[in-house]
Structure formats: C-alpha cells, structure tokens
C-alpha cells in the first residue's frame, strides 16, 4: 500500500512539473510586452527596458523557469507585478475561504447525491423520474447562472439572504453560515443533480451483477446486500464522479465568488488574468494543480482500500 501511494505521489509530482513548465512557457512566451503593459503607453522605451530588467524579463526563458522552480521549492512564488504582494501570501489568505466553500459544498453533494441516487436506483418510480429530470435541468443551466438567479430571487427580490457574503468566521458562526449559505447552494445544485444521476447508474449496474443474485439465492437479506455489497462495489464509481465534480468546482467557484463578492481565489484569479499579472496567474494554476493531485491521490487510496484487487497488485 505504501509503495502504491509513493508511486501515485511520484506521478503526481511529474504532472505538477509538466503543467508548471507548460503554463510558464505559455504565459511568458505569448503575452506581448509585459513591461509596457505594466507601465502603460506613456512610458519611454528606457523606462520599459529598465522595468524589464527589474522583472528579470531580459534573461532566457529556460533560466527564468528554473529560477522560478528553485524559488517555488523554497516557498517563494514571486510577487504580484501590480500590488507587489508576495503570491504565497495572497494564496495563504484566500485559499481557506475558497476551500471551506468547496469542501462544504462537496460534503453536501456527496451526501445528497448518494442518498438520492441510491433511492432512485433501488425504488425506481417517481424518485427515479425526478432524478432524470433534475439531471437534464442541471445540465442545461450553468452553475453561475443558477448563482445569479439565486442572488436575484432570494437575496435581492425576497431579501432572505445577504447578497454579498463578506462576513468572516470571526463575526460568529451563525452569521457566517447564514452568509455562506447562498454561495454554497449555488455551488452544489449542479453537483447534486449530476452526481445523483451518475450514482444511480452506478448502483443499478451493481444491482444487475450476477453475484447479487447469488447472494439472494444464499438467503442474504436485501438490506444487507444493498448496504454491504452493492454500495461497496458502486463506491469507486461514485468516488470518481465526486472527484471530477470537485475538480470542476475549482473553476466554478471562481465565478461564484465573483458573484457573491467573496475574498477567495476567484477575485484574485480574475484580476490577475485581466491584468496579465503572470506571477499571480502561475500561483493560481499551481494551487489548482496541487488540489487536483491531492484529490486524485485520496481517491486512489480510497479505491485501493475498497477494492482488494488494487490493494494486492
């Protein structure tokens, strides 16, 4: 098991390196004159050249990438070109906000989608039809549009929730949960509709397996078959569904934070992108890739634990 984890971790690091290199070269090769962009049109050629030297842009790309990797290994991701704030600091203050939301939404998605999906697979009938219709609606309306609709209806028109959620946890748990409710709901609707449908299919697939019939023929009760055997076999598929949703949510949360004016990764990423603030963009990409790798590693470990075949080999 430890070798298995080490192997996964190793391949995760390779992915991290590859993505960082690709992103770095893509960013620094394509965006025109960075110094001119920062200083504006009024700046003289001399000033631009000085700025370029100051930012180290006159050095070869590969040398710059290696320097970036070296700094990154010691925890230094550079500083924003516009605010001069160290990227690592910005990430450290914003990641908790975003991750709290993402994990809250993910836990709720996992619970709701599993309950609804299993109910639809086992009971069929109206629950099943609801899940099918829900999946179509969830697929049809993008998550951020749902966010916009929620704010407009529930916060602005009806005044049930605050439209912006800048309350910090220090203000008291009640107020904070209340202020975070709407963004989390906006984030999880698509996840629940899509997840429930996929979990339903996974459970139905397992219920049709031969060994379920054999277990019945041995006199094992329906409840035990469902909870001990079927759900266990369906779990890897469910985990994969949920991990893909979490990864997708890293993008979705950017827009949701923008809508609800939350001080998370979203506004940082959007501002940096708009200004071509490349060190910050690099930082955002790295944070994303690390989260993805960690999530995939966790899913692999859980699957190994669930499936003896993976565990042994």
């Amino acid at each position: 098991m430890i070798r298995f984890i080490a192997k996964r971790l190793g391949s995760g690091l390779v992915v991290l390196l590859v993505v960082s290199a690709l992103t770095f070269f893509l960013l620094y090769m394509s965006s025109g004159s960075i110094a001119r962009n920062i200083l504006g049109d009024q700046a003289s050629a001399e000033q631009v050249a000085m700025k370029e030297h100051e930012l180290g842009l006159d050095e070869p790309l590969v040398a710059r990438y290696l320097a970036w990797v070296g700094d990154a290994l010691s925890g230094n991701l550079g500083a924003s070109w516009f605010s001069s704030e160290p990227v690592a600091n910005s990430l450290a203050t914003r990641i908790p906000v975003t991750m709290t939301m993402v994990f809250a939404a993910m836990i709720l998605i996992a619970i709701c989608a599993a309950l609804i999906g299993v109910a639809a697979a086992v009971k069929r009938g109206w629950v099943d039809r609801m899940v099918q219709v829900g999946a179509i609606i969830g697929d049809s309306v993008p998550g951020f549009v749902i966010g916009v609709i929620l704010v407009t209806l529930l916060a602005i028109q009806l005044g049930l929730f605050p439209a912006t959620s800048t309350i910090s946890p220090d203000a008291g748990a009640d107020a904070w949960v209340y202020s975070m409710a709407l963004p989390v709901i906006a984030l999880l609707i698509n996840g629940v509709t899509g997840g429930a449908q996929q979990i339903r299919s996974a459970v139905i697939k397992q219920l049709e397996r031969d060994y379920v019939r054999t277990l019945r023929s041995r006199g094992i009760g329906e409840r035990e078959i469902l909870f001990k055997h079927v759900l266990r076999s369906a779990a890897p598929a469910g985990l994969t569904v949920l991990s893909l949703q979490l990864i997708g949510m890293l993008g979705g949360v950017v827009i949701i934070e923008q809508i609800f004016a939350l001080p998370g990764m979203g506004p940082l990423a959007v501002t940096a992108t708009g200004q071509s603030d490349l060190p910050v963009v690099m930082g955002v990409v790295m944070y994303t890739v690390v989260v993805v790798i960690v999530v995939n590693l966790l899913v692999d470990i859980l699957n190994g634990w669930l499936n003896p075949k993976v565990r042994v080999s």
Partner: protein, 630 residues
C-alpha cells in the same frame, strides 16, 4: 421494415450499429434521402420523440435567428443611445435597452451568432484532435496509446475555467483563442469514446474479414470503424457544445471576454451589474443560454433513446417472430384455481411446477411469454435435467423456482409448489418473496453458471461462505468457519485455509466454481438448482465438477435441477430429463428413454446435432459420457 431489422441485427453490437451503413451526414435526412432503411428508422424515431422535436425546433430557430442577425437586428450590437439607457421595452427597442443604451434584442441576436460559432469551433477542434488520436490509439494500440492516455489523464484533471483564465492571461481576450484551447482540453472525451468503440470492433469478425480480404488499414478505419463511432460522436458533440457555451459565457461573465463583442455572457454580467435597477436584463441572456444548452442536452438524450429503442425493438421483433412461429399448437390450459392448498396426492414431490407461464410486459401493453405451459416435478434424491438451446426458457423456469426473476417478470399462468406448499399459488402474478426468502439458502440453493462473476470481488471467499451460514442457520461465526473449511475440503480443495482467506480474483475459475458449490450445499438444502454449472469451465475441470455434484447429491440425498444445453452432461448425471424449446416443454422422461428413443422431432434434432459422426444408437449413453469429458 423487416429489412432494417435484419441489417441492424447483423451490424456490430456497439450502440452505433443501427446507423451502420448510412452514407450521408447526420442532419441531412430528408424524405428523398437514400441512405439506408436502418438509418431512416432511427431518424424517424427521433422525429417521433416529442422532446427530440422540441429540442430540434429550438436549435433550428436559434440557429436561424443567429444566421439572420444582420437582417433581423434593428441596431448594430454596439450602437449605444446614451439618451435612452435601461429603457423598458417599446416599439423601437422591443426588449428594452441596457445601461449603455444598447438594444437588448439586437445584442441577443449577435450574441447567438457568436455563441453558436464558438461552440462549433470548440467541438470542431475537439473532434479534429480526439477522433484521429482515438482511432490510432484504439486500432494500433502500443506506445501511442500509452502516451496519449497519459496526456489525456493530465488534460482531464485540469479544471476548464482555470485553464481558460491562463489562456486569457497569455493571449488576451479572444473568443476564438479560448474556444480552441477549450477544444483541446475537452478533446479527451472524443478520444476515449473513439478508442473504446474502435477497441470493441477491432477484433470483430467483419473487420478481420476486411483485413483478410486485403483492405488497407485506412479503408478499414474509414469504412467499418468510422461508421461505428459516428452516432456516439453526434451525441457527445451535443453535450460538448453545451459545455462550451456554458464555460465561454462564464468567462465573459467574469469580464474577461472581448469587450467589443456582444455575447450572452457579457449581457448577463451587464444585467447583474444593474440587477437593482433592471433585473429583466438578466432574464433574456439567461433564458437564451438555458434554452440553447437545454435543447442540446435533450437532443443528445433523444438521439441516444432513438438508438437504444432501435436495439430494443429489434430484440422484441426477433423474439416475437420466433414465438409466433411456434405458438400455434397451444394446449388448452386448465383454468386457474384460487385455492391455497396444493393438489392432493402431489405433496410428496419436492418441487412440482404446474403449467407455468412467465412473461415480460412490453411497451405496447402486451406480454411476451418466455415460459409457456411448463410442467414437471423433482423428487428427493433425484436429478432432473432441463435441456434446451439458449432462449428456450430453461433458466427462466429455474429462476421462477428460486424466486429470482427480474423485477419486471410476471408469472402469467400456473403454479409452483415446494415440499407440499405453494411458492407460487395458482393465479399469483409474482413469486412470493415472503415465502421464498425463508426457503432460499436454507432449503433451495443455487449454483450459477459463471463462477467468477458470482462471487463478490470485494470480500474473501471465507466471508462469502460464512455469512450465509450465520444468517440462515443462526450458528456462530467460529462454528460457521469450521464448517466452511470442512466444506472446502469436501469439494476437493487441497488447501482450504488458503482458499478461505483468498479473494475471488486470487483463485482459478474451477476453484471458484467449487467454492460456489460448497456455498450451495453449505446450509444443507433439499433442492439445488444448478444453472449450466460446467459451461464456463475447462473441459477437464468440467468432468471433476460433475463428479463432485453427483457424489454430493448421492451422499446428501438432495434433489437437483440441472439446467444445461449439453446432452452429454444429462447422460452423465441425470435421472430424468425435460427438453425445452421456445419456452415450452417438448418432451419429458427418463434419461434412458429420451436418449434411446426420442419421440419429438426437436429432441431428435438436438441429439443428432450432438452425436453426428459418432457411434450408432446402442452406444448412446457411453458416447454421451465421452462427450461430457472430452
């Protein structure tokens, strides 16, 4: 119509088969279209599906509006009348104006244009990369597949929006750039789909035939393989176009799109900024987006349904045809009785099946019978063989006795009694689970056909042997463990401890079948139903398993129903045999009588097909034995 059924049935089992031989593109099926009958039935089913029609209508209308935007739009997309901002709808601006005094209706139309074009670009890029890569990886496999799988793994693990933000930071605001990037990012979905489809047909006989007949790889791909992936690709494209619209709009909503272009995302963002002043500005772009993406989703579903229905109807037709050819000589069925007591004088039979009929309700309200008027009995210590080709209803009969028919199955006639009381009383529609759950495992047990798929891969063999004994017999785990080890020894497993602790994937198929037999007799049942217990095994193992079955059956004096298609097994093992064909019982009698002197032409044909080129009739029994061993 029957033509189409034939062609479709002959095509590959892949979901795409019904459009197998079509010549033209997906959207060009007018009434005069030649193509093939098969394809037009799919299209016809699509046009019969109300949701499909709605989806296609919406998409057509939106496409037309987008195409005619320059004609239909009263204003240019960026024409701003500063004197008339955030205006309510009137005769000039039919949907009102935004905060810069631009006409909402005009911007919606131009937005449709850009949105649809960008979705097409994205899907186009994704197909251009994913399809060829998938074809190559699926057809040639090897290193290319390994490398592309690795790349796919990375691409699939990156959140789309973050990648698009990076692209925007690198290349500036361009709808086209971001859609090309997203096309690359999403191309794995085509890659995977194509690779899987190609892998499934790569070794099909008709592809082999094409290869043998000297067709080049390229023309095989073009002619045989491409036709298989076409339908899944159309479905996938509908989904991807929807995703592309959503993510592109998201990017524009963040204000990272091209500010000079009117798009639905920009309009939504603009509306959201003015949500306190004029919330209806939000409504139109949101509606346009939901309608378009929703129509794409529904269209994809409708095409999938049309293809799947095709398969179903095909199946049903084949079976119905077969049934109608044999349904003519129906014997008068005795009228149903509502009494719960079994017929006197039959109590001593272990199992008695009387005039059993099993059917499946069809979409059109009729019931398709798979078992019809079947009667037989089994006594203690007796082995009854049920012989027939696949689809003859023998397994359905066996599952009716076990009460393990699929949920949608109905008992349409007859009764089943076990040890003197009904499990299915005359007139009952379903097997009573209440009665059977008390019998299953304890008194009636089951040996399945395919050993590996009938053990839960996530639990040890020991666990799967012990639990039923603990539940059914109420003994302790330690006691059950002792018995399980004894059972494993009894079924001829040399090292029972090791097998007890093994997971199913760690033992061979023959050993797994022994484990399943051990499980079947673990609670000392009176009746064992064995459904082709040796079919999935190697021939040498088959003989061992049959010997084991016979030995256990004699020692424990249990009744056995042995479902098989192999007369050799029957001759080897059974006391009596029932021959089934098309859901009906053709002939029943002692093995000796039936083998030596079959009365029914079908039994004669079955026997003749088995013994062709073998010794004359007097040697039948020994020839049958050889058959089972060889």
């Amino acid at each position: 119509m029957s033509d189409s059924v034939e062609t479709a049935a002959a095509a590959a089992p892949a979901p795409a088969s019904p459009i197998h031989a079509g010549q033209s593109g997906p959207g060009q099926n007018g009434p005069g279209q030649s193509g093939t009958v098969v394809r037009s039935t799919v299209i016809r089913r699509l046009f019969k599906n109300p949701l499909g029609i709605v989806a296609m209508t919406i998409l057509t209308v939106i496409s037309l509006l987008a195409l005619l935007a320059p004609v239909l739009a009263p204003f240019d997309q960026n024409y701003a009348n500063i004197a008339k901002t955030l205006a309510d709808p009137d005769s000039v601006n039919i949907l009102g104006t935004d905060s810069a005094g631009r006409d909402v209706w005009s911007r919606l139309l131009y937005g449709a244009q850009l949105t649809l074009l960008s979705a097409l670009l994205c899907a186009g890029v994704a197909i251009a990369i994913g399809l060829p890569a998938g074809l190559i990886a699926g057809y040639y496999a090897g290193k290319f597949e390994a490398v592309s799988n690795w790349v796919v793994g990375i691409l699939m693990s990156l959140p789309g929006l973050i990648v698009l933000l990076t692209i925007r930071a690198a290349f500036g605001p361009s709808v086209w750039m971001s859609m090309i990037a997203f096309g690359i990012l999403i191309s794995p979905s085509y890659f995977r789909l194509t690779r899987t489809a190609v892998q499934s047909v790569r070794n099909e006989l008709y592809v082999d035939a094409a290869r043998v007949s000297g067709l080049s790889d390229l023309s095989i791909i073009a002619r045989h393989i491409f036709s298989v992936v076409r339908a899944p690709i159309i479905i996938q494209t509908a989904a991807i176009a929807g995703v592309a619209i959503a993510i592109q709009s998201g990017l524009e909503f963040l204000g990272l799109g091209d500010p000079t272009k009117a798009t639905w995302g920009v309009m939504l963002s603009e509306g959201f900024k003015n949500v306190y002043l004029n919330p209806t500005l939000l409504f139109w772009p949101a509606l346009a987006m939901a309608l378009t993406i929703g129509a794409l989703v529904l269209l994809g579903n409708a095409i999938r349904d049309a293809l799947e229905d095709g398969e179903k109807i095909k199946h049903r037709k084949k079976k119905a045809m077969r049934e109608s050819s044999t349904a003519a000589p129906v014997a008068a069925r005795p009228t149903r009785k509502s009494t719960a007591a079994v017929v006197p004088g039959t109590e001593h039979h272990l199992v008695k099946v009387t005039n059993l009929g099993v059917g499946y309700p069809q979409a059109d309200g009729s019931i398709k019978k798979v078992v019809d008027d079947v009667s037989f009995h089994v006594d203690r210590g007796e082995i009854l063989g049920i012989v027939g080709e696949s689809g003859s209803g023998k397994s359905q009969t066996a599952f009716s006795i076990l009460g393990l028919l699929p949920d949608n199955a109905r008992i349409v006639a007859g009764s089943i009694q076990f040890d003197g009381s009904y499990t299915v009383a005359p007139g009952e529609e379903r097997v009573s689970q209440e009665r059977l759950s008390k019998l299953r495992g304890k008194r009636i047990s089951y040996i399945p056909q395919e050993p590996m798929s009938n053990l839960d891969p996530a639990f040890t063999i020991g666990y799967q042997l012990v639990t039923p004994m603990v539940r059914v017999l109420g003994i302790s785990k330690a006691e059950a463990r002792k018995r399980a080890l004894k059972l494993l020894t009894d079924v001829g497993i040399a090292n029972p401890e090791r097998t007890f602790n093994a997971y199913p994937h760690e033992v061979s198929g023959g050993m797994a079948q022994r484990v399943l037999i051990a499980g079947a007799i673990s609670c000392e049942p009176d009746l064992v139903i064995a459904d082709e217990p040796t079919t999935a095994l190697d021939v040498t193992v088959q003989a061992d398993v049959l010997d084991l079955l016979r030995e256990l059956q004699q020692r424990l004096n249990i009744g056995v129903i042995l479902v098989t298609h192999n007369f050799g097994v029957v001759a080897d093992l059974c006391d009596r045999v029932a021959v089934m064909q098309n859901g009906r019982l053709v002939e029943e009698g002692s093995v000796r009588d039936i083998l030596r002197n079959p009365q029914e032409p079908y039994t004669q044909t079955l026997l003749a097909s088995m013994l062709e080129g073998k010794e004359p009739m007097s040697m039948l029994v020994s020839a049958g034995q050889k058959e089972s061993v060889a």
